[in-house]
């Protein structure tokens, strides 16, 4: 599974860790995150992320 990076703030989404604070379980691929999820650092939408 790929890591994805936020183009706005540089936050890296690591699928192994997920984003449990916002309901994304560890092991969730970026593609499987719901569309309304936003960057936990800066609030950018999913479409503002690029493959790391």
């Amino acid at each position: 599974m790929d890591k994805w990076i936020c183009d706005v703030c540089g936050y890296v989404y690591d699928p192994e860790k997920g984003d449990p604070d916002n309901g994304i379980q560890p092991g969730t691929a970026f593609e499987d995150i719901p569309d309304d999820w936003v960057c936990p650092e800066c609030g950018a939408g999913k479409d503002e992320f690029s493959k790391a």
């Binding site: 183009d7 706005v8 650092e41 800066c42 609030g43 939408g45």
Partner: protein, 399 residues
């Protein structure tokens, strides 16, 4: 510039910078200048909100000394850690070692990283208040407007929002610090857009979220860290910032920025024909030679207009390098969702268009048409260029 009392015992004590040529080491301000606005509150507690670049240090401390001894400061509120607002911090700490530095949790980490300061720091949470005597301050975290630690400080009785980089502009102050005393509002609006497109545009989402967060806060004066203080019409600058932030999604107003570069004049000659075609439709059009114009002045046009016409030759199998630089900066600044078209000359093989596509796809510039031509200009080609320009302008206007 001497201190200006903006409300009883609240003073503007900023400095004008007319000697820095490149703001952030990147953006030309030689002719326009820039101000670093700082504010002082003389209450039971003595408070300074944001500082200045390590420049004109004596002038800055003299301004505080006019009102109170620098050593008497109780609180130094840092809305933002960027060194144009914190550069004199070490000097200040030498004069006022007991002053408490106030900021967001992220600010505390950055304070240690930039200045090695970890003592006498007070972290304030989002929405927290701080009584300083007769007045009360409230803090709003506004991350990524412009760095992660950014917050705004709100004075509750006179409803003043100390917004730091948000709502700022380039342009040194010409004596008058208030919007209602400014005789050249067009200059500051133009420089506010250039500042937005150079410094803030990437963070348009966070800007909209900050404005949303402050919707129910009664703001009578907007006191940013750069440019005019807005007291007659504080909503004006907020509306402008909101409009500009929304361009990230909408792509901007109908209009075209034509950016072009040329080695021997073939692409340039075609550019004039394309411009003629576009102008026939009456569309709003800006034209920039990318080899000769600093990208700082191109970005505001790119940001605000929904169409981009790109004219550049193939250079050694790739896109003309000055154009590459402009497009890379546009990508970094998240200039997104545009309608685009391309034309350019090539000598033996193309290649510019292929590379151009790799730059503009990630930022969602939709290439509606392109016209690569081999070698020089002919009458027929100029005719094609005119038609090509007109058709693109009609596409932009049709949206």
């Amino acid at each position: 510039m001497p201190a200006v009392e903006i409300k009883p015992n609240i003073f503007w004590i900023g400095v004008n910078d007319r000697t820095t040529d490149l703001f952030e080491g990147l953006w030309p301000v030689t002719e326009e200048g820039v101000s670093y606005n700082t504010y002082l509150i003389d209450d039971d507690k003595k408070v300074v909100i944001d500082l200045v670049k390590a420049l004109k240090t004596d002038e800055f401390f003299d301004q505080i000394d006019e009102i109170m001894p620098v050593s008497s400061l109780d609180y130094v509120i840092l809305n933002h850690m960027e060194p144009d607002h914190t550069g004199v911090l070490r000097t200040l700490k030498r004069i006022a070692p007991d002053a408490t530095i106030v900021g967001s949790p992220k600010m505390k980490q950055m304070l240690e990283a930039y200045y090695g300061i970890s003592k006498n720091v007070k972290i304030v949470e989002d929405g927290e208040t701080l009584s300083i005597g007769k007045r009360t301050l409230q803090f709003f975290h506004t991350p990524f407007v412009h760095w992660p630690e950014t917050m705004m400080t709100y004075e509750t009785s006179d409803s003043i929002l100390f917004a730091c980089d948000a709502f700022g502009s380039y342009g040194a102050l010409r004596g008058a610090i208030f919007d209602d005393a400014c005789k050249d509002p067009d200059f500051y609006q133009r420089e506010a857009l250039r500042y937005y497109a150079n410094i803030v545009s990437k963070f348009s989402g966070p800007v909209l979220r900050a404005i949303e967060k402050l919707t129910d806060v009664d703001v009578k004066i907007i006191a940013p860290s750069h440019g005019l203080v807005w007291r007659k019409n504080p909503t004006r600058i907020v509306e402008l910032y909101k409009t500009w932030a929304e361009y990230a999604e909408s792509g901007g107003e109908p209009g075209i920025t034509m950016i072009y570069g040329s080695m021997y004049g073939n692409t340039e000659e075609m550019m004039n024909a394309v411009a003629q075609g576009m102008s026939c439709t009456g569309i709003d059009l800006d034209i920039f030679d990318v080899s000769r114009t600093h990208v700082s002045y191109i970005l505001p046009s790119l940001w605000a207009k929904s169409g981009v016409m790109i004219g550049a030759p193939t250079y050694e199998g790739k896109l003309f390098p000055p154009m590459t630089q402009v497009l890379q900066m546009a990508a970094l600044k998240r200039v997104t969702n545009k309608k685009a078209a391309y034309f350019g000359s090539f000598g033996w093989s193309g290649g510019a268009l292929k590379q151009l596509n790799t730059f503009i796809e990630p930022i969602k510039w939709e290439l509606s048409s392109s016209m690569e031509f081999h070698g020089g200009i002919t009458k027929e080609r100029l005719k094609q260029g005119e038609t090509f320009g007109r058709a693109f302008a009609e596409t932009v206007l049709a949206v």
